[in-house]
Amino acid sequence: MNDLHWLTIKEASEEIHSGTLSPVEYTQALISRTEQLDPKLNAYIKFTPERALADAKRAEEAILKNKSLTTMTGIPFGLKDIIDVVGFETTAHSKILIDNMPKSNAYVTDKLDSSGGILMGKLALHEFAIGGPAFDLPFPPARNPWNINHHPGGSSSGSGSAVGSGMLPAALGTDTGGSVRNPATSCGIIGMKATYGRVSKAGVVPLSFSLDHVGPMTRTVEDNAILLNAIAGYDKNDPSTEKNQILPDFTEFLHKGVKGLRIGLIRHFYTTDLKADVEMCKAIDDAADTFRKLGAIVEEIHVSPLSHFSSCNSIIMYCEALSIHDQWYKTRPEDYSKATRTRLMPGLFIKGEDYVNAQRTRTKLTQEINNQFKNFDLIMTASSMETACRIDEPETVARTYPRQARTVFNITGHPACAIPTGLATNGLPLGFQIAGPYFDESTIYQAAWAYEKENPFNNKQTDIK
């Protein structure tokens, strides 16, 4: 058997169901791993081993009684600390919400709870999912498991760090401008931002109402599909969730292969609009060649410049975020980290007409991407333009963070998934992104699974001790 902490959800679930692995034993192994690593990684804001062991015992009893088991039964997971769990503060990694005790669970918390998952704790983030990594907050910033001197991406930084380091097989993050896919790329894991409306945000601290998504983060594509199975669906408490969505088994078509799939490659995002560094550029081009080798038809396509998507995302996000933070911003601005305060501030100067124009532009850009899906099954492009930089160099962080192509799919609402390709010469993960038509996460997983089989990243494990 593998070290227990490196088991995938699928592997652990099979062993749990067959009785060769006890959820208590598995949870205990991850508790030990966390006690060993988290003092270096700071992935957790609140680590809850007592609750985890109690949940694990309940899962064990359910298995012994053969009660309705799911693939998530007995599987530990963590939640970004903007997702509500009764009994634990939802701090959003901020002094502002340090005593914020939720009255009910978030929808996704209930879904994972009822599927038999085991909550291990609340995970670090960039303050309010926007400001970080920051050192002037009540909790330290999470670090990259491949090199603790580097950031793990954000804003779901703790989720990326915990999954990438083998402290957890599964975590949830949120994604407003790439905050699931950035830590996924930075930490060498899979991060899916499903279609806007696929997963409920009820019980999640908002950043930007029309751009926010909740998304699964795992070490393999199959695990990601399993986790999305557990959290997707209509929720009457989140009016943005799609009532008529068809809920497939996202694992069903994983093995279908990519032969004949048409993939549009937006190369100008990372060669012209922004220039990815040489290794990242090669990693994405090589991934396109891998798909060609596997029988997909990959053709270069052109859409509006990346800056149109990213400016549109920023204008909408700044305005919507300020509308949420306005009262705290007026009365307690010194209680934010400098990073958050300065990132929220442009919202003060964006005029009503700019917001309306950004929304009109959003509609046009969305139609443009939608039109591409008339000719292509999937779109692939860059996620980040370089590997994660050092965490203690704020100017480099500020320069490199916007160098990404993820906001495109927050603007349009299409599902998009970050997939690792390998390690750069500096030892940090490289990766790319695949997007698909609305509510077609299955085809993304199908392609991502085929790529992963050909180029398995999950056999590369951090040697952090």
Binding site: I315, K338, F349, A358, N370
Partner: protein, 67 residues
């Protein structure tokens, strides 16, 4: 402080951001520049009724797929 800066700082104070202006005026100046450069990088849009002028709403994105 230039008179232009004084005007917008006063406007912010009148809107309730007194603490922000008193403690973080340098950050505000920089944020104003960020906002201005952002709006400049948006594509030109001319306003016609034959273009999509609707404000994005979550339900509209699903029309092609679900109806």
């Amino acid at each position: 402080m230039s008179s232009e800066s004084e005007i917008f700082f006063n406007q912010l104070k009148e809107s309730g951001y007194e603490i922000l202006v008193d403690k973080f005026s340098q950050e505000i100046t920089s944020a104003k520049q960020t906002a201005e450069s952002l709006t400049k990088t948006m594509p030109d849009s001319h306003h016609m009724y034959d273009e999509p002028s609707n404000v994005f709403t979550p339900n509209k994105i699903n029309i092609d797929n679900n109806e």
